[in-house]
């Protein structure tokens, strides 16, 4: 017995002794449950999804544009529709974080992996890199259109945790250079990401049209600040080939299976929230035009489409709700549509750019494309276009007002773009609600986190905005 115990003591001693001179124990600190390397396509697919999610979500805490554009009104809790509590609820921070830390981070990481993998970059890899760059350009343009100056040249490098903010128009110019380079390097004869490209399944031809359409949009954004430059950009884009039909649209298809379902369904249906009804300014406009898209956009109350008062509390059951098609699990969402291209072209003609066609023709095509997408029968489309309040020659106001109003109606499910174009065209005329905390925001303020974590750069950026870091200051092209 004693012997046995002495043996135990000795073996404990031995263990203690040998354990202290064991091999490198840091190998224990590995995570067997996560990959340390992935296919770049998985990151590219993730970027597409995150970008579409943030532009689609109806959550006023993540993307508040459906309120800014007065498509929807809130029911019980109304502070956001009165532009109050936007900072308190960190709305600017959530939008910013998704675009930088999810979308751009995934894109840059995919780029890094492709560059690391291929000693000599082949044509397929080149295509992939071009697609990544197109989405990078798209994402940065959203950031600039929202905030103005943002971190760009020093962004996405975690070694530098205090990136400076770059001038918005300088960023725009650089993005256009980047976009041209991407367009030029696309090789239509070669493949790219395949199924990981959820939007176009690797169809380079349609990517090229998408890239040119983005270029068209960005060019038009510049018309009021740099007319001749804008003219060049727009004409080049059209020449190189923009969207020709609804089939060309940059469409992201959601799944019927959570968690990859459409955020509208998640917020309104899955979470059973009764937070929104249709807003009166929008519904009344459509009612006045007898717009057949109402059927898709909204539900009826009794026999009518009724909008709730924007900025006030509304009784959920008393007003029209979001239409059935929009609240399907797998409702698709667009980064860009053909209808947008046609609206831009109508305006380009008015501005005297050589893009072909007439303003009226493009205007009609734009409305027709939108209505066709929303499954409006052709006779109804024709009848709509014939109405004096719609027809290009007779509708109220100048081209900005005509196009602005119809864009607003057509962009119902693309609230971010609707907000930007409202800012640029100043139409439709939206009225801030009574007891609003400010005028209707024309940009988002920088996130509180930036003030805390990147203060020097933030202070500089805020100082560079005429009027300061306010919701009512304008971005450079506005």
């Amino acid at each position: 017995m004693k012997k046995i115990l002495r043996y135990i003591t000795t073996s404990c001693l031995m263990f203690a002794f040998f354990s202290s001179c064991k091999k490198d124990i840091t190998s224990l600190n590995e995570n067997p449950k996560l990959p340390s390397n992935v296919d770049p396509g998985t990151l590219f697919a993730n970027a597409q999804k995150k970008l579409t999610d943030i532009l689609t979500t109806p959550s006023q805490f993540e993307n508040i544009c459906r309120l800014f554009t007065q498509y929807w009104a809130e029911t019980v809790y109304t502070s956001e529709s009165r532009y109050a509590n936007i900072m308190t609820n960190n709305i600017p921070g959530r939008f910013w974080n998704v675009l930088y830390a999810n979308v751009l981070k995934s894109l840059y990481e995919a780029k890094k992996l492709i560059n690391a993998k291929n000693a000599g970059i082949d044509a397929i890899a080149k295509n992939k890199l071009a697609l990544i760059d197109i989405l990078i350009v798209y994402t940065y343009s959203v950031l600039v259109d929202t905030y103005g100056n943002v971190p760009y040249s020093e962004a996405l490098n975690v070694e530098n945790i205090h990136p400076k903010y770059d001038d918005a128009s300088t960023i725009y110019n650089d993005l256009l250079v980047k976009l041209d380079a991407a367009i030029n390097s696309l090789d239509i004869s070669k493949t790219s990401f395949g199924v990981s490209d959820i939007i176009y399944k690797g169809d380079i031809d349609r990517w090229k049209k998408f890239a040119n359409s983005i270029k068209l949009r960005m060019g038009m954004r510049l018309v009021d600040v740099s007319g001749s430059n804008a003219k060049n950009i727009v004409e080049q884009a059209v020449q190189s080939g923009v969207f020709q039909s609804n089939a060309d649209g940059a469409m992201f298809t959601y799944s019927t299976v959570p968690p990859n379902t459409n955020p509208i369904w998640e917020n309104l249906i899955q979470n059973e929230r009764n937070d929104f009804v249709a807003a009166q300014p929008f519904v009344d406009t459509m009612n006045a035009l007898n717009d057949p898209r109402r059927m898709a956009y909204f539900t009826k109350v009794g026999n009518a489409y009724i909008g709730g008062k924007y900025g006030s509390q509304n009784n959920y059951v008393a007003f029209s709700h979001v239409g059935d098609r929009l609240i399907a699990e797998n409702m698709e969402s667009f980064l860009m549509e053909y209808t947008e291209v046609e609206f831009l072209l109508a305006e380009a003609v008015e501005r005297g750019f050589a893009v072909g066609g007439t303003a009226e023709g493009h205007y009609k095509s734009a409305i027709t494309a939108s209505m066709q997408y929303w499954n409006v029968p052709q006779p109804d489309i024709d009848a709509y276009l014939l109405q004096p309040a719609v027809a290009y020659s007779t509708a109220t106001g100048d081209y900005k007002q005509k196009i602005g109003t119809q864009k607003w109606i057509a962009f119902y499910n693309r609230p971010f773009e609707a907000w930007c174009e409202w800012k640029r065209l100043d139409y439709p005329v939206l009225v801030k609600p009574a007891n609003a905390a400010s005028d209707i925001p024309k940009r988002l303020r920088y996130p509180v986190r930036e003030q805390n974590l990147n203060k020097e750069a933030y202070d500089q950026a805020a100082g560079a905005i005429p009027g300061g870091d306010l919701f009512t200051s304008k971005v450079f092209w506005d």
Partner: protein, 1079 residues
């Protein structure tokens, strides 16, 4: 005692009994009693009673650890009371490694508690019983059933790491992880503590059997703990368990207590106005829906005749119509077909039963039996404890079963083997949901509704009846008469009985050890220990509840093994110089494995809570495995000169697996000096019976958490077969270095008047530098945070412990123990260019932060605008708000904490009470912020300064004038309507600072009255050797507090995010009895 030594039965003797007590009259357990000049002896039981056979004229020698020995001569008497004097110099306390040292040798601060101090006013988590008893120890207990307890010694030292005290049992650490609900859908997975909903599953140290605790020694500073390694840098509570003693002893304990909700910690409600947000609805006055009951309550077509008033029950606020019994309205009950009130209007009145009637009385019972015994060669102990706690909410219960066994055996003169094993099983059902559950699982926390979102016309009893009658989610908060589903809240009874959690934890911990005495001055200890548990947590949202129905399961396995080898040397080099040394190695291997899975998109079949019942294929479960290993070698030496001067030197070197290769070995030293100056002052200052000064300095290195070195990709669920990957939000760091704590401490121990007064004062200063922290970075870097070595937190403070016996006679004694401590905490540095580290963003636009130049735990949010110290209002009469939502509006740290224990003993009675106090520190109350907005509290109703109903429009003399000044500095005279948001935070009305409250309190924490049946009564009750009967009250009275309608101590969970209340649980006053039999 059942068994007496056989030899004694043969002698010509009589049986005598006696009791050994200290000078305060407390029984001294396990005192040894022997007959001088013989080998005969006995051991006193737990309360100091002993029985021995002896002859007249024999001399009994009585000795006990920590006391001077005494003797007594046997006369004709049968009963002997023996009082032993405290021997401060030889009182033994356990150090972190489990080595016992005499208190006077220790050149650093420690404080000891008896097991009795913890178990007499027992709660189901013994940690709660430490509050107010140790200077410098901040205990913050939650009111939730089985809540975790925040245990901090000398302030928060780590920016984002663990700040909780380490518990060590008999030299072996026990894990104290808090595995509160993990939210996998959020980037910050542990949102429970930030108020984002979930459950507080308690902390794991609550598995320790309080009946097995012999004593606790609290080691406060690094010098005391450095040898133990980095995990001890937050201070250590060393628990010594009971050891079997000679003969056989049995103790049986039973107790029960009832917990009554302390009404000062639950809302009082206004009862004048009912549901709604104002005059916003369909009826002509705007306060009601206006529907035609005969036409199915449809909105369209508008009723042409006989319109009916329907309560706007979808609105979870009470800014509706003034109650008027003559007004007949359809309320929520009118839409429940099973209700007698179905489709009938009723008078518009306040609900008869407000939410306080939802709460039940808590009930706790406990039984325990402890057996111990031993002989010359060995001893054993065996204990079993069962505790059942029923909470104040329906369908809540926690059952604990604890078994412990320990034994040691002397194999020969030099070799002793010992071992212990503990098994615990904790089963919980219906812990209270915490915080603000947001949009997806809203309404689980019924306190959130009762404190923030409620209609005063609702009668809770009717909700109970509706649930019991139908078994369905019949709620007061229907969306609309034509849409009978919950708008924001379920029926609270439905929430409790259908959307409940269950959890279970099975745990083993124990050790085996061999001690070999090589010679008279060296012994060697080899010990291996294991702490291992499995836990499962299941959460449910039933079909037809608000939001997505759901079932989730979290499984976690934890194991830690320690291998220790130590040589202890104790040698008198010469009569004046004593040398003690310890040299040893420790290897610790900690493995954790968990898996979390939940249904996707809802449940198919109601009431089947299984993953297979998922509406959509479930997403891949989240798995995590980590292994950590630290190999340490350590050595210490204590030189004692003539028993008055002690020098202690220590050093330890660790090699850790969680730091990068090359940076993962680190060394740290400690040195301490103690000087007992009273040796030289006995003649000059005769009233000073003991005096010692201590001074020490120590450094402790600390390693990184697991998986902080290498980057991995995250893999979200693919979209229709297309795989997705993302980059982790955290950038890990392959160049991490160990962090380091540097601490200095000095103190003085004094005793006066032969020890009737003793005083211990300590000053300390501690800096933790190079902290391993996830540094928040601008998202434009692509990351949310980056792991770096940065930061410096300083804690300095003073601790005072005073003990006095103002009265001491043979029949009556009075003892006072007083503890006071103040800690000043300062965040000195957070890394280059970083001024703020956000610990949590909580609901209400408020965050808890570490900011440079501020204490750890600053509350930030929007502030008032002040002019000459007055709050400024705008032209409309509302408060102006600071331009950013980022102002410092509070600090969660108390100015000081303290406790006072008074013990009175009269003959066989003893009365003991503890007053626990906390001065200062702030708390943000989301409950007040929303509850005032929604018109729940009396502040929002009643009469104004003009004697008019405050809710009347200003034009009719109603409304209020907010205290403050106009922008020109003149007093505010603008009267504003009392409406939704006027006093609260919603609607952007008031700054968050309006709902930051002083968290000070004074509480009567414990009151215990004990009667020990005297020996002459017990004598006839063979085999019973002792009976103690106690009446026990805990948390009886909050003597002082400033936070309205809630307990200022209440928090969401233990951890680094404190100072935020959301749906907070009221406190209970617990009153019970305890009956203890000794055999």
């Amino acid at each position: 005692m059942f068994a007496l030594p056989v030899v004694q039965l043969l002698a010509q003797t009589k049986t005598i009994t006696g009791k050994v007590t200290d000078e305060k009259g407390n029984g001294i357990p396990n005192a040894s009693v022997s007959i001088k000049g013989t080998k005969k002896g006995a051991i006193a039981n737990e309360s100091g009673n002993f029985t021995i056979t002896a002859s007249e004229g024999d001399v009994l020698v009585i000795s006990a650890t920590g006391f001077s020995s005494g003797s007594i001569k046997i006369t004709t008497q049968d009963f002997y009371a023996v009082i032993l004097k405290d021997d401060l110099q030889s009182m033994e306390v356990a150090t972190a490694l489990g080595i016992k040292k005499k208190k006077n040798e220790l050149p650093y601060a420690t404080q000891r508690l008896d097991g009795k101090d913890i178990s007499q006013a027992r709660t189901s988590n013994f940690v709660n019983n430490l509050g107010g008893k140790i200077a410098g120890l901040e205990i913050k207990r939650g009111n939730n059933l089985g809540a975790s307890t925040n245990v901090i010694l000398r302030g928060n030292k780590s920016l984002t790491g663990n700040n909780q005290v380490l518990f060590v049992i008999d030299g072996v650490p026990v894990d104290n992880t808090n595995t509160n609900t993990i939210n996998n859908t959020k980037a910050n997975k542990n949102v429970q503590i930030s108020g984002g909903g979930g459950y507080d599953y308690g902390n794991a140290v609550a598995d320790i059997n309080p009946d097995d605790i012999e004593s606790m020694n609290v080691l406060k500073g690094s010098a005391a703990t450095a040898l133990y390694g980095s995990r001890a840098s937050n201070g250590v509570i060393v628990i010594t368990t009971k050891k079997g003693t000679k003969g056989l002893g049995i103790t049986f304990n039973m107790g029960a207590s009832i917990g009554l909700v302390d009404p000062s910690t639950f809302p009082k409600y206004q009862k004048e106005y009912g549901g709604g947000y104002g005059a916003l609805y369909e009826s002509p006055d705007g306060y009601f829906l206006y529907r035609d009951a005969a036409a199915g309550f449809k909105l369209q077509p508008r009723p042409s005749t006989g319109p009916d008033l329907v309560v706007p029950f979808s609105e979870d606020a009470s800014f509706g119509a003034k109650f008027n019994p003559n007004l007949l309205v359809y309320d929520w009950t009118a839409f429940d077909p099973s209700s007698p009130n179905y489709h009938k209007p009723r008078p518009w009145t306040a609900g008869k039963n407000d939410p306080s009637s939802f709460l039940e009385n808590a009930l706790s019972t406990n039984y325990s039996i402890m057996l111990d015994g031993g002989g010359d060669k060995g001893n054993f102990k065996l204990g079993y404890t069962n505790t059942t706690d029923k909470g104040i909410l329906p369908n809540s219960k926690i059952i604990k079963n604890l078994i412990n066994f320990g034994s040691s055996y002397k194999i020969d003169e030099n070799l002793t083997a010992s071992g212990s094993i503990n098994f615990s099983k904790i089963d919980g059902i219906g812990r209270y949901a915490t915080g603000y559950d947001g949009t997806t699982a809203s309404s689980k926390n019924v306190f959130g509704s009762f404190r923030q979102w409620w209609q005063m016309n609702v009668d809770v009893k009717e909700l109970k009846d509706a649930y019991n009658r139908t078994g369905k989610n019949v709620t007061w908060n229907w969306s609309d008469p034509t849409k009978l589903s919950p708008a924001f809240w379920n029926n609270p009874y439905w929430s409790r009985y259908e959307n409940f959690e269950t959890d279970s934890r099975s745990r083993y911990f124990g050790n085996v050890a061999l001690t070999y005495k090589i010679n008279s001055w060296i012994d060697v200890l080899a010990r291996t220990s294991l702490d291992s548990y499995d836990e499962i947590q299941e959460e449910r949202i039933a079909v037809t509840s608000l939001g997505v129905s759901r079932y989730s399961q979290f499984n976690r396995r934890f194991s830690e093994q320690n291998y220790d080898l130590m040589a202890n040397i104790n040698k008198d080099i010469n009569p004046e110089l004593n040398f003690k040394a310890t040299i040893g190695t420790n290897t610790r291997i900690t493995k954790q494995q968990s898996i979390f899975a939940e249904t996707n998109g809802g449940l198919l079949i109601p009431k089947v809570y299984a993953l297979l019942n998922s509406k959509n294929p479930i997403e891949a479960p989240t798995e995590r495995i980590t292994t950590e290993r630290v190999d340490g070698v350590f050595a210490s030496a204590t030189l004692g000169y003539k028993n008055f001067l002690f020098l202690d030197l220590g050093a330890r070197r660790d090699i850790s697996s969680t730091l990068p290769k090359g940076n993962n070995a680190y060394f740290y030293p400690s040195s301490s000096l103690g000087f007992i100056f009273s040796k030289f002052t006995t003649d000059a200052i005769p009233w000073l019976s003991y005096g010692k000064v201590r001074i020490n300095y120590a450094e402790v290195g600390n390693t990184a958490p697991a998986l902080y070195v290498k980057d991995y990709y995250l893999v979200p669920t693919g979209i229709d077969g297309v795989p997705l990957a993302t980059v982790d939000d955290i950038k890990y760091n392959p160049d991490l270095k160990p962090e380091r704590t540097k601490s200095f401490e000095t103190g003085i121990e004094l005793a006066f008047l032969k020890g009737r007064i003793s005083l211990d004062i300590t000053y300390y200063k501690q800096n933790t530098v190079d902290q391993i922290v996830p540094l928040s970075v601008s998202a434009s870097t692509g990351y949310g945070s980056k792991i770096v070595n940065a930061g410096n937190i300083e804690n300095k403070g003073i601790e005072i412990a005073l003990n006095a016996n103002p009265i001491k006679t043979s029949n009556f004694s009075w003892n006072i123990g007083l503890n006071l401590s103040r800690n000043r905490n300062l965040v000195k540095d957070l890394g280059p260019g970083v001024k703020n580290l956000q610990l949590a963003a909580v609901q209400g636009g408020v965050s808890i932060n570490a900011a440079v130049g501020e204490p750890y735990g600053t509350i930030r949010g929007s502030n008032f605008v002040y002019l000459n110290g007055q709050k400024v209002v705008d032209a409309d009469g509302h408060y102006l708000k600071s331009s950013t939502a980022n102002e410092i509006i509070g600090n969660v740290n108390p100015d000081w904490i303290g406790g006072m224990t008074n013990t009175f003993k009269y003959k066989d009675f003893s009365l003991n009470f503890l007053i626990d106090a906390r001065k200062g520190g702030k708390v943000f109350s989301l409950d007040m912020a929303y509850g005032l907005s929604e018109g729940l509290y009396p502040e929002t109703a009643g009469l104004n300064d003009l004697g008019k109903p405050v809710r009347d429009p200003v034009a009719q003399g109603g409304g209020i004038i907010l205290p403050g000044v106009k922008e020109d500095g003149t007093p505010n005279t603008k009267r504003i309507d009392m409406e939704y948001g006027t006093l609260g935070i919603t609607d952007d009305r008031n700054p968050a600072a309006a709902h930051v409250y002083d968290a000070s309190y004074i509480k009567l924490r414990e009151l215990v009255l004990t009667y020990s049946f005297p020996a002459f009564l017990i004598k006839n009750l063979y085999p019973i050797k002792g009976i103690d009967f106690s009446l026990v009250g805990t948390n009886l009275w909050i003597i002082y507090k400033k936070l309205p309608y809630a307990d200022p101590e209440e928090g969401l969970s233990s951890g680094n995010v404190q100072g935020n209340q959301s749906g907070s649980v009221p406190a209970t006053r617990n009153i019970g009895f305890n009956l203890k039999f000794k055999f």
